[in-house]
């Protein structure tokens, strides 16, 4: 079995109102349970907004800090799920399920080395 990272990209700014968000999160919870039952689920997290991120670089032994996320842009990583799958087709079919729950957000499926 191989592991894949399913990254969820979402636009910056305020999250949708609870009336929209709650049923989506409930669906996502159900999908996570389904992944667990299938033995595919490894790990999943949601992240605080990119404005809470700090970038650390080493400069001659000193940690240099920069406020904000590493990449510029209007969309950032909002959370991710690590799954176990036999091949890319299986990983993509889980990715498609996540994308369906979170539409119109994009899900990046990437193999873990």
């Amino acid at each position: 079995m191989k592991q894949y990272l399913l990254s969820i990209y979402q636009p910056d700014g305020d999250p949708p109102p609870p009336a929209v968000l709650e049923p989506v999160m409930a669906e996502l919870g159900k999908l996570n349970d389904e992944m667990k039952a299938a033995g595919a689920w490894v790990f999943a997290v949601g992240l605080h907004p990119p404005s809470t991120a700090t970038v650390v670089r080493d400069r001659d032994g000193d940690a240099v800090l920069t406020d904000g996320p590493f990449t510029e842009g209007k969309e950032h990583l909002g959370g991710f799920t690590v799954i176990r799958a036999a091949d890319l087709d299986e990983a993509l079919s889980w990715g498609a399920r996540v994308a369906a729950v979170l539409a119109p957000l994009a899900i990046e499926v990437r193999p873990i080395a």
Binding site: K2, A86, D87, L88, D89, L92, R110, P111, A113
Partner: protein, 417 residues
Amino acid sequence: MTENGIEQVYRAEYGRAVAVLIRHFGDIDLAEEAVQEAFAVAVPRWTEDGVPPSPAGWIITTARNRAVDRLRRESTRSGREAAAVREWAAGVAVSAESEALAGGGATGKRVEDMADDQLRLIFTCCHPALAPAARVALTLRLLGGLTTGEIARAFLVPEATMGQRLSRAKGKIRDARIPYRVPHDEDLPDRLGAVLAVLYLIFNEGYAASSGPGLTRDDLAGEAIRLTRLLVALMPDEPEARGLLALMLLIEARRPARTTAEGDLVVLADQDRTLWNREHITEGQALLRDCLRRGRPGTYQLQATINAVHADAADAAATDWPQILQIYDHLTAVAGGPVVALHRAVAVAEVHGPALALAVVDGLEGLERHHVWHTVRADLLRRLGRKEAAVAAYGKAAELTANPAERRYLERRAAGF
């Protein structure tokens, strides 16, 4: 055996041998290198002694032994390849399968296995997780046996660029573990559609750029036909695969009439139809009859039907345009879209006159960057006597086409008033 004969064996057997070796070793590069080495051994030997009874079996056995030798030398390799080495050590690597083939004793089952391998490889090369340009390049490389340089020349990109495109695609197949199998039934229609799209893209590249630099451009259409023929043999119950082959043959039949000796474009209405390849037309029409009988017409079958109607007409005036318009209506229902609507407008002009057709064309959106839209408009404007507008539209079309022969044709039309 002549060099030309060996070249034919190479074209026919390269993809088959690579497909079998990929299944055995799970490594595309290893499979390719081993098959190339096997052909390098075969050329002097076959030139001297003649071709063995089953060249495919000979190549596969030799390539497999080469691959195993290589793996033994590179003992640091891990995983599946190490397993392959252990298998070899146990004395089973050179299996009865290829031995039987080398001796000319191929059983139906073994041949079937090899066919399955080729089909798996087609679906891997055309996997939707790969970029369309990468699918095309991989298909030509692994199934067609074209060199990286030949593919690069055919697509007018530097060889280094094509090399990177291929190695990136092979890296993704390996690291993301794109499966090597025929898709499950529920995915098959979509995935087969992706395969057919790749084959048609290869064909069109050969069709549209007939005036490109020598050798390879025309060969692309021939290669697309060869690969589609292979797909039809592997999936005989898929009417759209058959429909695509019919479509390619019916279009390819017109190639001799499509350009003048000077390389200038001759449009369908002006072509000398005695130059059309009757063999291709007969085969295309027979394929089409066969797949239409199955009652599942798709876009390729319908497009082939339109081309078959053209093939039936002894001259342009004898074209059954009402029937073509009817087929376009059917095609619109199956796969509507602005490009289909644009081609349908050409039939509308013939049946209902250019004024109505122009209204249809002007009502289409999103085609301003598409040279065919301007060409169709220009022809309609010319027929309506609106000279200035026609000249401007021909000029715009000439500006947008990437094909030099087509550009010269359009410029001649624009200057022809």
